[in-house]
């Protein structure tokens, strides 16, 4: 599963795109968040972070499909 990273989340994982193979079956947004916090403890220090599926904010119970465009969205600060 390919995941995109932006802003501080890109700095935490050290790249803007990552293939995550540990999560394959019936993975939800919540599973991905927990996986990232386990692998990169810095995620737990953020104010919060969201996950977008196909360019839309996705709730924790949304399932992730292989062809989805998945992105980690740290706290936004535009404007």
């Amino acid at each position: 599963m390919k995941v995109l990273f932006f802003g501080i989340s890109k700095d935490i994982v050290g790249k803007s795109e990552m293939e995550i193979s540990d999560l394959t079956k019936k993975t939800t947004v919540n599973d991905l968040k927990n996986y990232l916090k386990d692998e990169f403890p810095e995620f737990s220090n953020l104010t919060s972070f969201a996950v977008a599926v196909n360019s839309e904010y996705a709730k924790d119970d949304v399932s992730l499909e292989r062809n989805d465009e998945i992105a980690v969205i740290p706290p936004v600060s535009g404007g």
């Binding site: 802003g7 104010t47 839309e56 992105a71 740290p74 936004v76 600060s77 535009g78 404007g79």
Partner: protein, 139 residues
């Protein structure tokens, strides 16, 4: 016919906003421009660096424009955000609305910038002399 412009750009051109929002049925046009300030919490800012998730940012900007059209009677809406490095006094965002009377465009313009700041996937890094910080990332 409503006019709607939502864009992620390299450079904000503030001189065109008025023409974009002008409309024969609009008596009022309200525009907000956000720019780089020299100081944040008394620390001197050298520059800001903006990054975005473009496809999602455009979708969110478009949703905000549509929400504004639903909430108020507007003839035109503009939402533009810049990306890349920006120096002090450079504009980084411009939002605006035009309507028959002034209350609507003021309220809508405030809604546009407030909602943009809440939701649109754009990240700002403040670059000081000796460090750089992703804004709002940490509590």
């Amino acid at each position: 016919m409503n006019k709607k412009i939502v864009e992620i750009v390299d450079t904000i051109n503030t001189s065109q906003v008025y023409a974009e929002l002008s409309h024969p049925h609009s008596g009022g046009i309200c525009v907000f421009v956000g720019a780089v300030r020299e100081f944040t919490n008394n620390e001197e800012v050298v520059a800001l660096e903006f990054e975005t998730y473009k496809s999602m940012a455009i979708k969110e900007l478009d949703k905000i424009a549509e929400e504004a059209f639903e909430k108020w009677q507007l003839n035109a809406v503009v939402l533009q955000h810049a990306v890349g490095a920006k120096k002090v006094e450079e504009p980084v965002v411009v939002v605006g609305a035009s309507s028959a009377h002034r209350s609507e465009c003021f309220e809508a313009c405030r809604f546009l910038i407030d909602t943009l700041k809440e939701r649109v996937p754009i990240w700002k890094k403040e670059i000081f002399k000796n460090k750089s910080v992703w804004v709002s990332a940490h509590p």
